[in-house]
């Protein structure tokens, strides 16, 4: 008999009140009571001791619901979906004396009184739930009474055990059938398919040949493992393949080569320690520590379940940090979202029957923000650094970037902290959460475009607390005892990837799959092996250390299990209850994928340069520019992300008394060191409409320039590249890619800022149907996110964007050119133009070096690296940040007024300098032809641009903060 416990929150509960407010805005006057519901089949769930442990007697009541309401709306999870509250409830039941294998489930009930009709309540339900992962029950007050309340639902997973064996797969079939297997998956007995392997015919033929050579049929688990290992997501085949005449491919030929050349050129000043070989990149922080960085994307899952996709992304990249070297401590999170306008409601469907609609931009925006909030905040990692960029082509597939910076001792147990190696004979130990069906085919799925066949099982929800327990146990205790020889995380591909990759160090593995702890019985072996259930780390543990390690984890409430042994027989081998179900050559598994040479074409985009009339009201136009989504304040995100946990925040996400949303942050990750970590990024997706080379160069330049402006020396700076491309099977898109890669090679080498880590996501396309059921394909603009990480010797060198004192002199450093192509100003007028900003890395390098000297001498009071919206927007942001006036004269810039104001030429920094430092500052830049004194910080409350505009700062402030204020 199942027990249902309903805990009623007080009428003034914040969750209910906020919902009431939101409905009021839509003209609905309602009152809402929130009820937290806990359900369990366990006999002890009825006990008072347990029930009272769920109720706060000061404000809550158990099983005593009010009678007077019009609607009851309950939202719970579907079977198998991660239920974190349910998980904690199970632990409370255990504390109350139950065994530890009890299952509890949570749901939330809203009792609503007010004038809502059926449609209203359905709309409300839709805004509060996601039917992909949640179930909804709705009853009228009368139905509720008649039924005696809501039903007790136990969303337990029931799998038939039929699947619990490994099946043979016949590959001696036609090429057509091979293609179907590659695209849609292995056939089940009933003819249905198991979901995409994401393998081309060429790949399938290679697999067929291999098993012909082995003289036996392939097992399903073998095919699934190959598919994971060879997937674009894991193998980065597009960056690795020969492309045109670049035989070694884009990654080795450009990105890795840039780093190699820079490191050689810098010699003993090289800051890199671990690049491209581990879960993150690592550079020197100080004599004691390395600092690591990794940025990931989680785009496809976030399109289907924004919250689950984003939280899984952030806790996933945290594990990349924990899995760096012998284990790094996560000290900072980054986020970044590319989204469609949340104020619009475009109509798109996944299927031609128009039954499954694409989530609204607002739902996606709120979901991904909440996901990073829950994951980052609950993990106790500050999230000071991020961005949001809007373009309506992100409607079907948003880009969700998540990154984690780690701190790791340079030496651990007498060995370099960044080194590790699994040895033959070491036991394979997996620690953390259990394995369920979640995330099956995540790796292969993210390597293809989203369409109606996109599998719901690809969605999962992270469990930050399970991970926090595991992370603390590893980073704060076990690591320093030297009990494991290697560690890595379980991400895409689950154990098939983590164990497979670590086994490359020893030369093989033997897994006994029945030893893997499962969330529920009945999973097929291949599902267990490739499941992407979260919060797990895989370790290589010498046999004599196993007992101690497992006991230590247990003491911290973390399950750790031996699942096999690393070997050196060059075989990838799995047994299941004694039967061999996988036995392949390691070589074939890792390097057997046939080369696929790529061909490219390239056509520059762009339209004719428009000739726009001067705005009638310049101040109003500036206000409109400030209110554009790519420019306006995102303060509502910063205040819900804990950005000062760990006590390390120096320069936060909101700067100056006027709280301007900043692009650069500074953190002091080691409490006892004076040094700071500077983080920033740059990206300009729209520039790709004209030239992906200009797009990529501008992104790298901004990532570097932001950090330099904040006080980092160029030689203390490293970069990360994240390519989010679209339709990467088309020569033209590949041509755009090649051009972007060439551009960042050139600029990185020029600046001597090495790439230390990168990731790509190559198919950000949405294939679906519009409101007329017409087939559409919407491709995200090709986007390079460049992220920068640097170290400053003392945080007192930090330079923020807000001017500090009236009377300070304003200088513009760098050249303003006629470059409004793809700019915010042209977009405001619905135009694209042609003159996209071209980055002059030679000129910029001169400036950044001179600037570095000035910042070392503390001559600069404030600095802002110009980007979206150009100079006028930068001036306005400075005025808003400081809440001080400005008197500016742009007549020295040899361009028309609008071009001078809104050109997005790269390589420019707007600074303020105190009068006492003016002479020294000018001397510092003597001989640099692009140092312009353009005015001063003034008394009063206006931004005054001579002969152009006089704008009230209060009005600018409102224009800047209003658009996203109420989200």
């Amino acid at each position: 008999m199942a027990t249902r416990i309903e805990v009623l929150a007080p009428p003034e509960d914040g969750r209910g009140k906020t919902l009431e407010k939101a409905l009021k805005k839509q003209g609905k006057d309602v009152s809402i009571r929130v009820v937290d519901v806990y359900s369990s089949e366990h006999a002890m769930a009825k006990d008072d001791k347990f029930v009272t442990s769920l109720v706060n007697p000061v404000t809550q009541k158990a099983n005593d619901l009010p009678k007077d309401f019009d609607w009851a709306l309950e939202i719970g999870f579907l079977p198998g979906v991660t239920d974190n509250i349910g998980h904690t409830t199970s632990e409370l039941l255990e504390l109350a004396g139950a065994d530890n294998d009890n299952e509890c489930y949570s749901s939330r009930l809203y009792l609503i009184k007010g004038d809502l009709n059926q449609t209203d309540i359905e709309n409300l339900s839709e805004s509060l739930s996601n039917t992909l992962i949640q179930r909804v029950s709705i009853k009228t007050g009368a139905e509720f009474k008649a039924d005696g309340g809501m039903e007790t639902i136990i969303p337990k997973v029931h799998l038939d055990n039929k699947g619990a064996v490994a099946d043979d797969v016949d590959l001696n079939v036609s090429d057509e059938e091979l293609e179907v297997i590659g695209n849609q998956g292995i056939a089940n007995d009933d003819g249905s398919r198991r979901g995409p392997l994401g393998m081309s015919l060429l790949y399938m033929q290679a697999v067929k040949d291999y098993f012909a050579k082995e003289g036996r049929a392939a097992k399903d688990i073998e095919l699934e493992t190959i598919a994971q290992t060879w997937s674009e997501h894991c193998k980065h085949t597009i960056f690795a393949s020969p492309i045109d005449d670049v035989k070694e491919g884009l990654y080795k030929g450009y990105i890795k080569r840039a780093t190699k050349e820079i490191r050689e050129s810098k010699g003993e000043n090289d800051i890199c320690v671990s690049v491209f070989s581990d879960n993150a990149g690592g550079i020197i922080f100080d004599d004691e520590y390395l600092i690591t960085d990794k940025v990931e994307t989680h785009n496809s899952p976030s399109a289907l379940d924004p919250f689950g996709g984003a939280i899984t992304g952030i806790v996933g990249v945290n594990r990349d940090c924990i899995g760096f070297g012998q284990g790094a401590k996560p000290v900072i999170n980054r986020y970044g979202f590319c989204l469609a306008d949340p104020r619009t409601s475009p109509e798109y469907y996944r299927d031609s029957a128009k039954t499954t609609s694409v989530l609204s931009p607002e739902t996606i925006m709120k979901g991904v923000i909440d996901g990073v909030e829950a994951g980052g905040n609950q993990s106790g990692i500050p999230t000071p650094q991020g961005f949001v960029v809007f373009d309506d082509r992100f409607v079907g597939k948003p880009l969700v970037f998540v990154g984690t910076i780690g701190l790791i001792p340079r030496e651990i147990n007498g060995k370099p902290g960044h080194e590790k190696k699994a040895n033959a004979g070491d036991k394979i130990v997996v620690a953390g959460g259990r394995v369920g069906r979640d995330g099956i085919h995540g790796a292969t799925f993210s390597s293809v475009a989203l369409d109606e066949g996109s599998p719901a099982t690809a969605v999962q929800i992270g469990d930050p607390i399970t991970q926090k327990k595991m992370s603390d146990a590893i980073i704060k205790e076990i690591r320093d005892l030297g009990l494991y020889t290697a560690i890595t995380d379980n991400g895409a591909g689950g154990m098939s990837s983590s164990i497979g990759e670590m086994a490359e160090q020893s030369g093989g593995f033997h897994v006994e799959l029945e030893k893997v702890p499962l969330k529920y019985p009945g999973m097929a072996p291949w599902e267990i092996w490739i499941s992407e259930s979260q919060e797990r780390m895989t370790m290589a543990v010498p046999p004599e250390n196993v007992d101690e390690l497992v006991a230590l984890f247990e003491k911290r409430g973390v399950e750790a299990t031996v699942v096999g042994t690393y070997t050196n027989d060059e075989r990838a081998k799995i047994t299941y209850h004694g039967e061999v179900i996988m036995d392949m050559e390691m070589d074939f598994l890792h390097d057997g994928n046939p080369e696929t040479p790529l061909k490219t074409t390239f056509t520059r985009g762009g339209e004719e340069e428009p000739s726009l009339p001067a705005p009638a009201d310049q101040a109003e136009t500036l206000g409109n520019m400030l209110g554009r989504l790519n420019i306006c304040s995102k303060e509502f995100i910063s205040t819900q992300y804990d950005h000062n946990v760990q006590g390390s925040a120096v320069m936060g996400p909101l700067q100056g008394p006027g709280r301007v949303y900043a692009e650069t942050s500074i953190t002091k990750p080691a409490l006892k060191s004076e040094k700071g970590v500077v983080l920033s990024q740059g990206l300009f997706p729209r520039y790709s409409d004209i030239d992906t080379g200009a797009m990529a160069a501008a992104g790298v330049d901004l990532a570097v320039r932001n950090a330099v402006a904040a006080g980092v020396d160029l030689n203390q700076l490293a970069l990360l590249d994240n390519f989010c491309w679209c339709s990467s099977d088309e020569p033209e898109r590949l041509g755009q890619l090649k051009r972007a890669v060439e551009a960042i090679y050139e600029i990185a080498v020029k600046y001597e800022t090495p790439f230390i880590s990168g990731k790509d996501s190559m198919f950000n396309d949405f294939k679906g149907f519009d409101k007329d059921a017409k087939q559409v394909k919407i491709s995200a603009p090709p986007t390079l996110l460049a992220s920068s990480i640097g170290v400053i010797p003392n945080v007192d060198r930090a330079i923020s964007l807000a001017p500090k004192a009236v009377g300070d002199v304003v200088y513009l450093l760098g050249e303003t050119k006629d470059e409004l192509g793809a700019s915010e100003y042209y977009d405001l007028h619905g135009r694209l133009g042609n003159n996209v900003p071209e980055t002059d890395s030679h000129q910029n390098l001169r400036l950044y070096k001179l600037y570095g000297r000035a910042s070392r001498d503390k001559l600069i009071a404030s600095a802002y690296a110009l980007n979206y919206g150009g100079l006028a927007v930068a001036l306005a942001k400075k005025a808003i940040a400081s809440q001080m006036g400005m008197d500016i004269d742009l007549s020295g810039i040899d361009l028309s007024t609008e071009k001078a104001m809104y050109s997005e030429s790269t390589g420019r920094i707007l600074v303020t300098v105190s009068p006492q430092n003016k002479a020294k500052f000018e001397k510092n830049f003597k001989g640099f032809e692009h140092c312009y004194e353009i005015g001063h910080v003034a008394y009063g409350n206006t931004l005054n641009i001579q002969n152009v505009l006089k704008a009230d700062i209060e009005k600018l402030d409102e224009a800047y903060k209003k658009p996203l204020k109420d989200y």
Binding site: A9, E12, D13, G14, R15, K17, T18, S53, N56, P57, V58, T59, Q60, N84, I85, H87, T88, T89, E91, L92, L95, S106, N377, Q378, S379, G380, D463, P464, I465, K468, K469, D472, K555, R556, G557, S638, T639, Q640, Y641, D642, H643, N644, V645, Q646, G647, S648, A649, V650, M651, G652, L654, G656, P657, L671, D796, A798, S800, K804, K858, Q916
Partner: protein, 272 residues
């Protein structure tokens, strides 16, 4: 002998390192202890003079912030905790620790009735996590607050709203057990967001037991203990440079921890 502080950890608490750093900087000795280790060896509390339950997200705030961790402590450690607060010791709960302390009933503990839950620290009125700097006015004679009038430190919580019945509220005020309130321009914020970031009754940011030795506080003093941590650091640093002055190293938050150190120094001198 320097006083010993135990800073708890585990199950999602996450501010233990910076909290320990604050105590050590103030001159106390301290160590971080996982709750399971303290449960296994409760006599550790006998040798400690300060118990700190730091901020964090124990059990993910599921079933109410601080509830599950408090349940765990109550079941396994309650007798030891009662003994501890009955001695001449200091206890502080910060943020998640504040929620845990309130759920344990270590505050307000009228008439020494430790264990009775009389205040709830629950969902912010905005139903949203708030990470921002706030101003506090100190309204108590707690040894933790000795000599402090106001503080500029941050909050970071999703459930920081003190709720209680009218009786409890009146009694807290009458007894001087309200430790600090949120202010705007030096006066009580009157519930106005964001000065009062969570809608707390009477703008309450923290309360104490009757002795003042047990303090529970939603804002984070350990995130505002050094000048470089402050939200106005960039402005202050620039001003100091112009005036040719040095900035003080410490900020408001450290005072609480220094008070703890001083409390035991004075006690020691008295007994000597």
């Amino acid at each position: 002998m320097t006083a010993n502080a135990i800073v708890l950890a585990g199950y999602g608490l996450n501010c233990e390192e910076e909290t320990l750093h604050a105590f050590e900087y103030a001159g106390l000795k301290g160590k971080i202890r996982h709750i399971n280790d303290v449960i296994e060896n409760p006599s550790e509390l006998d040798n400690a003079q300060v118990l700190a339950i730091p901020g964090g997200f124990s059990y993910g705030d599921d079933t109410g912030a601080g509830n599950a961790y408090a349940q765990k402590m109550k079941l396994a450690l309650w007798d030891k905790l009662q003994e501890f607060v009955a001695r001449d010791t200091l206890t502080i709960g910060i943020c998640n620790g504040c929620q845990i302390t309130a759920n344990l009933g270590l505050v307000p503990a009228f008439d020494k009735n430790y264990g009775e839950r009389l205040v709830a620290v629950t969902h912010n009125l905005t139903a949203r996590y708030q990470c921002r700097w706030i101003d506090l006015k100190v309204t108590s004679n707690s040894p933790w607050m000795d000599g402090i009038e106001s503080m500029h430190i941050p909050v970071a919580h999703g459930e920081g709203r003190f709720m209680m019945n009218e009786d409890t509220f009146t009694k807290l005020k009458e007894n001087g057990q309200v430790a600090a309130i949120y202010t705007k321009d030096g006066e009580a914020a009157g519930g106005e967001f964001p000065y009062n970031p969570n809608g707390s009754i009477g703008d309450i940011a923290g309360i104490t037991d009757e002795t003042g030795r047990v303090l529970t506080l939603m804002p984070h003093p350990e995130r505002g203990m050094f000048t470089w941590q402050r939200d106005d650091y960039m402005e202050a640093k620039d001003k100091a440079q112009r005036e040719g002055k040095n900035l003080p190293e410490t900020a408001d938050g450290i005072l609480l921890f220094q008070n703890a150190a001083r409390y035991f120094e004075v006690a020691q001198k008295k007994s000597a």
